[in-house]
């Protein structure tokens, strides 16, 4: 597994019911593309995060299929509707089977 994988998300603390909010996510990950070679000329095997999802109270906001062309430390920005108070859950799926999750509560007010 990749070392020091650390997800970061930015979610507003509060929102009005039904308001559209902007979410920003960043996760530190080398996203080894499988195209690069090491000093000895051997191909470095691919090791990337291949899927990212964001859910709010179990309902999908976005589900992204990721390929090696996504940059190191994958960043995503998108918008979500907040119908009620609840929790955003962000999940990243690694090639090696690891799953990284992060959640943030949001209140109405």
């Amino acid at each position: 597994m990749a070392d020091n994988v650390k997800p970061k998300v930015r979610v507003p603390k509060t929102a009005a019911a039904g308001e559209a909010i902007t979410l920003k996510t960043l996760i530190s990950h080398p996203m080894e593309s499988g195209q690069r070679k090491d000093d000895a000329g051997n191909l470095i095997p691919r090791s990337i995060i291949n899927r990212f999802t964001c859910e709010f109270n179990g309902q999908s906001v976005i589900d992204v299929t990721m390929e090696p062309a996504i940059s190191t430390n994958p960043y995503f920005e998108f918008e979500a509707t907040v119908p009620e108070a609840g929790t955003f859950t962000f999940t990243w799926y690694d090639d090696d089977g690891s799953v990284y999750t992060e959640s943030q509560d949001i209140a109405i007010g």
Binding site: F56, S60, I62, V64, E67, P74, F78
Partner: protein, 139 residues
């Protein structure tokens, strides 16, 4: 051994075909991805916005934004990369807008392409050329 003019000509032809092959392979790979996503359907050009810089100094991280109101999913392709697929965004019921931004790698100057699948099953595409100063795929 003597080399005739005809042989020289044939050798040159062979070399130029060999040189052209990798580009052909890239184009085929993008077309395969597009066909897998659209099922070969016709694509319109209205209703999808692809925002990318005209010139990217560093191909390792090029900010790209796609926006297509009413889309179910948007595929992003870097047509000049060894593997052209970049990402597929699937928007769920709580997506406030069908907009997403991310950062992608570009191996060289090339066309970045986005294809949106609309709720009614039609497809829309947008393309923008990005000039890359330093490529982003290593090797």
């Amino acid at each position: 051994m003597t080399i005739t003019r005809r042989q020289t000509f044939m050798m040159a032809l062979g070399a130029s075909v060999a040189a052209a092959m990798p580009f052909r392979a890239f184009a085929d790979a993008s077309e395969d991805s597009i066909a897998a996503f659209t099922g070969g359907a016709e694509m319109g050009t209205e209703g999808l916005t692809l925002t990318a810089p005209e010139i990217a100094e560093n191909g390792n991280t090029v900010p790209v934004e796609v926006s297509a109101p009413g889309a179910v999913s948007i595929m992003l392709l870097a047509t000049g990369n060894p593997t052209p697929d970049a990402a597929i965004f699937n928007f769920g019921p709580l997506a406030a807008s069908q907009t997403a931004s991310t950062r992608i790698r570009l191996a060289k100057t090339q066309n970045v392409m986005a294809i949106a699948k609309m709720a009614d099953g039609s497809f829309v595409q947008a393309t923008q050329e990005v000039k890359v100063t330093i490529g982003g795929c290593g090797g």
